[in-house]
Every structure is written in structure tokens, then in C-alpha cells.
């Protein structure tokens, strides 16, 4: 099989991290695929690193899990030594350390998001290769290709918590509509000074997009629902 070594690998998943006025909202789809088969339709790709820092995982499930496991372990020790919660920046830098130094072997793109008392809500994108980029919002995974234009238009600074979460849910939902490697439910995690909130948006609670139809139990319901023939007296 001829590999096109010049193009980056596309990765299953849609992951998003967005800052708002007071914290961050992380979002992801829930599909894990093995080739064409959906191995897990309800996975949780938003993983906890510390009480106040979470990471969205994309790419190889195994690679992203092992990297986040190591970083959780390092951060646990770091927190004990430091005597206070780890900062988002430190968490991002630990991920970067593993991602960069093992760049030949790892295939995972991560978005680190959290809240600490020094910098407030912060999002760090860590794509393939191990670059760290602090951003007001970050998108990743194969589904993100469909969201660059959307965010260019829809993103604004200083959103409220509700606006930010709605934006994230809308975006993941749009990506799921077009990306075969993304699907299932939309999970979000909101992190701010008050703590962490996990939310869950099943497919049927999401807005319908172009050429999507209202789900039904059966054709029979549709047929039975049709009233008398038109023009019947």
C-alpha cells in the first residue's frame, strides 16, 4: 500500500475545546471505530487528568489512553509535591513531553483544557508531532475538517457558559453529520472555578441538519398517521 507520507494522518473522532468567560467547555463525539466497524458507540473521549484538568483524546485509542494514563500519574505526584492543584499549562507541557519525544510512534492528537487559579480557563492544542499551541478554542480529530469554516464564522470572545456549551454541542453534531468516523452521542465537560460538570446529549436530542429526517418508530406510524384522502368529502 503506497503511503502518502506528505499528508497528515486523518483521525477518527471530533473533539473540541472552547474557552468562555470564566472557564472552558470540552466536547467530543463517542464513536470508536476499528476500520469500518464501530467498536464502541458510546465511548468517553474526555478523560480526567486532575480535578481541574481534562483532556480530549483523538487518533489511536491505545496511544491516547496510555499517554493520558502516564500524565495522570505524573500529575498526581506533581500535585502532592506542589501542595496545590496542578495548572493547565503544566498538564499540557507533560502531554507535550510524551508526544514530542515519542513522535515517531504515537498517533494521537489531544486537546487539554481546564481551570486554575492563576490563568483561569485555558485550552491547549497538541496535534501530531508534539507542538503545543495555546488557543481560545481548539478543534481536532477527523471531524474537525468540517468545522474550520463553522468556527471561523461562529466563534466569538467572552461567551457565556451556556453559549459556549451550545456552540460545542452544535459543532460536534455538525461534524457527526458529515464525518463517518464520528458519531454516537455528544459529551461535554464544563470546568470552571466552581468545579466540573459532565453533560450528555444523545443523538435524538440534537438538532436535525440538511437532509436528516425526524426519527420514527416505524413506517407503519407514518402510514397510519396519514389522514383521509385529499378531497374526500
Amino acid at each position: 500500500m503506497d503511503l502518502n507520507l506528505d499528508a497528515p494522518h486523518s483521525m477518527g473522532t471530533t473533539i473540541i475545546g472552547v474557552t468562555y468567560n470564566g472557564g472552558v467547555v470540552l466536547g467530543a463525539d463517542s464513536r470508536t471505530s476499528t476500520g469500518m466497524y464501530v467498536a464502541n458507540r458510546a465511548s468517553d473521549k474526555i478523560t480526567q487528568l486532575t480535578d481541574n484538568v481534562y483532556v480530549c483524546r483523538s487518533g489511536s485509542a491505545a496511544d491516547s489512553q496510555v499517554v493520558s494514563d502516564y500524565v495522570r500519574y505524573f500529575l498526581h505526584q506533581h500535585t502532592i509535591q506542589l501542595g496545590q492543584p496542578a495548572t493547565v499549562k503544566v498538564s499540557a507541557n507533560l502531554i507535550r513531553m510524551l508526544a514530542y519525544n515519542n513522535k515517531n510512534m504515537l498517533q494521537t492528537g489531544l486537546i487539554v483544557g481546564g481551570w486554575d487559579k492563576y490563568e483561569g480557563g485555558k485550552i491547549y492544542g497538541i496535534p501530531l508531532g508534539g507542538t503545543v499551541v495555546e488557543q481560545p478554542f481548539a478543534i481536532g480529530g477527523s471531524g474537525s475538517s468540517y468545522l474550520y469554516g463553522f468556527f471561523d464564522q461562529a466563534w466569538k470572545e467572552n461567551m457565556t457558559k451556556e453559549e459556549a456549551e451550545q456552540l460545542v454541542v452544535k459543532a460536534v453534531s455538525l461534524a457527526i453529520a458529515r464525518d463517518g468516523a464520528s458519531g454516537g452521542v455528544v459529551r461535554t465537560v464544563i470546568i470552571n472555578s466552581e468545579g466540573v460538570t459532565r453533560n450528555f446529549y444523545p443523538g435524538d436530542k440534537l438538532q436535525l441538519w440538511h437532509e436528516e429526517l425526524e426519527p420514527q418508530n416505524s413506517l407503519l406510524d407514518i402510514l397510519n398517521a396519514t389522514g383521509p384522502e385529499p378531497m374526500a368529502m
Partner: protein
């Protein structure tokens, strides 16, 4: 310009040993850097883009950084490798400062250090995938040089990386002269950057110009250049020959 040793299957796990010996390929890349010597020191320009293959993924990457008191480093190529080089230089500058001997690393020394690092990595077939531009002023002497990912290193009055090699160099060869004023220098760089904007697919219209003089380093705020599209020939190019371009 590729150094990859082809492997039969792309399964990097099975070829883990072969992998740590073979070269990498870049993921997030920065495009051209253009730099010139001028009357008071060095002017350097770069855009703020980080491309991911053909996607213009990141639009706020600073690809020029001050090193110590006397130098300015610009990088094109893989951003993660540039970030790693900055870490090495941090350590270098820190150790230099710890001597507390009143001396500080000048651009010539930093350039030499980078050349050694890049060439050594190249020899191990594990390059840092960057082309670096190093400019600076120390004790009245202006210095401008560059190092490539294979360790080719030299100084000149004007340098350019990536697409800049092809598009900016000819302009600089024609129009650069010694003792350019700041204004003329900026205009010259902007002329190069505009051409790159028109003709380099990975260029974005958000750039910074950095200046280094005896006083120190200043990196400008990000800004955009106006572009010109009002050539009559652009208006209806296929009028005489439908179907052409």
C-alpha cells in the same frame, strides 16, 4: 527533498526499532522567513501560520523569538522541533548567564551552536525539521546567518527560507543595498512578503516584522497586508478564449 527510507507496511508499532532510526516527517509547519541587514541591525519577517498538510490550521504562531540580549531566531519547518530548539537555547542562555561574568552570548555564538546541533542530528538521520534564521547585533557588529535541517550554514546580507528562496531572493538581490533605512528595509520585506502571499499556498495574511539593534529585540504586532487584484487582465481573463484559464 526527502530522506525517508521506505518501509513496506506503515505499521509503526511493528517497525518500532526501525522507526527510531529513520527520519521523521513534519506535521505542523511554518512557511518562509525573510531577513535583511539594514543600517541599525537586522530586520526579519514571517507570517503567523502553522500549516497541517494543506490545511491552514493555526493562525497565531510566533515563528520569531528573541534569544538572550543580542539575537533573534526565526524558524520555518516543523513547529514542535522549533519549540524544542527554543528549550535548548533557554538552557544555553541560562547557563551562560549563570557564569555571571559580564559576557553574554552573541549571534555568532548562537548561530554556531545551532549549526552544531542541526548537523549532528542530520548525521544521526534524525533531523530537526527546520530552517533557522539567526540575526543579531553585538558590539556594533551586525550578524545574519541561516542553518538548514541538513546542517548547511552560512552568513549573508539577506536570507530567505522555504518559498522565500525562490520568490524573495531575486527581489533582495536586486534591491538590497548596504545601510538601508528602517523604512526602506520594512518596505523591502513587505514587498517580499506580499509576493509570498500571492504565490505561496501555505502563506497567510497575518505577519510580524521583527527588528534587532544594539538596543535589543522588538517584534511588531501582527498585521495584514493589502493586496492588489485590479489588473484589467484579471477581470475577464478567458474572454478571448473560453474554457482556458
Amino acid at each position: 527533498m526527502t530522506f525517508t527510507i521506505p518501509i513496506e507496511n506503515g505499521d509503526s508499532v511493528k517497525n518500532a526499532e526501525a522507526d527510531s532510526q529513520r527520519t521523521l516527517y513534519p506535521y505542523v509547519t511554518g512557511t518562509s522567513i525573510v531577513a535583511i541587514k539594514y543600517k541599525d541591525g537586522v530586520l526579519m519577517a514571517s507570517d503567523m501560520g502553522g500549516s497541517y498538510g494543506s490545511t491552514l490550521r493555526y493562525k497565531n504562531i510566533e515563528r520569531m523569538k528573541a534569544i538572550g540580549k543580542h539575537s533573534l531566531l526565526g524558524a520555518s519547518g516543523e513547529i514542535s522541533d522549533f519549540q524544542e530548539i527554543l528549550r535548548y537555547l533557554d538552557e544555553l542562555v541560562l547557563n551562560d548567564s549563570m557564569w555571571d561574568d559580564g559576557n553574554s552570548l552573541g549571534p555568532k555564538e548562537v548561530h554556531n551552536y545551532l549549526t552544531r546541533v542541526m548537523y549532528n542530528r542530520r548525521n544521526k538521520f534524525n533531523p530537526l525539521w527546520n530552517t533557522l534564521v539567526l540575526g543579531g547585533v553585538k558590539n556594533g557588529e551586525t550578524y545574519l546567518g541561516m542553518v538548514s535541517m541538513i546542517g548547511v550554514s552560512f552568513e549573508d546580507n539577506h536570507v530567505a527560507t522555504g518559498f522565500g528562496n525562490h520568490l524573495a531572493r531575486p527581489i533582495l538581490r536586486d534591491e538590497w543595498h548596504a545601510d538601508l533605512s528602517f523604512e526602506d528595509g520594512v518596505k523591502l520585506l513587505e514587498k517580499c512578503m506580499r509576493v509570498l502571499l500571492y504565490r505561496d499556498r501555505s502563506a497567510i495574511n497575518k505577519l510580524q516584522i521583527a527588528k534587532i539593534t544594539e538596543e535589543g529585540v522588538t517584534v511588531s504586532q501582527p498585521y495584514s497586508l493589502k493586496t492588489f487584484w485590479e489588473f484589467k487582465a484579471f477581470n475577464n481573463p478567458t474572454a478571448g478564449a473560453e474554457g482556458s484559464w
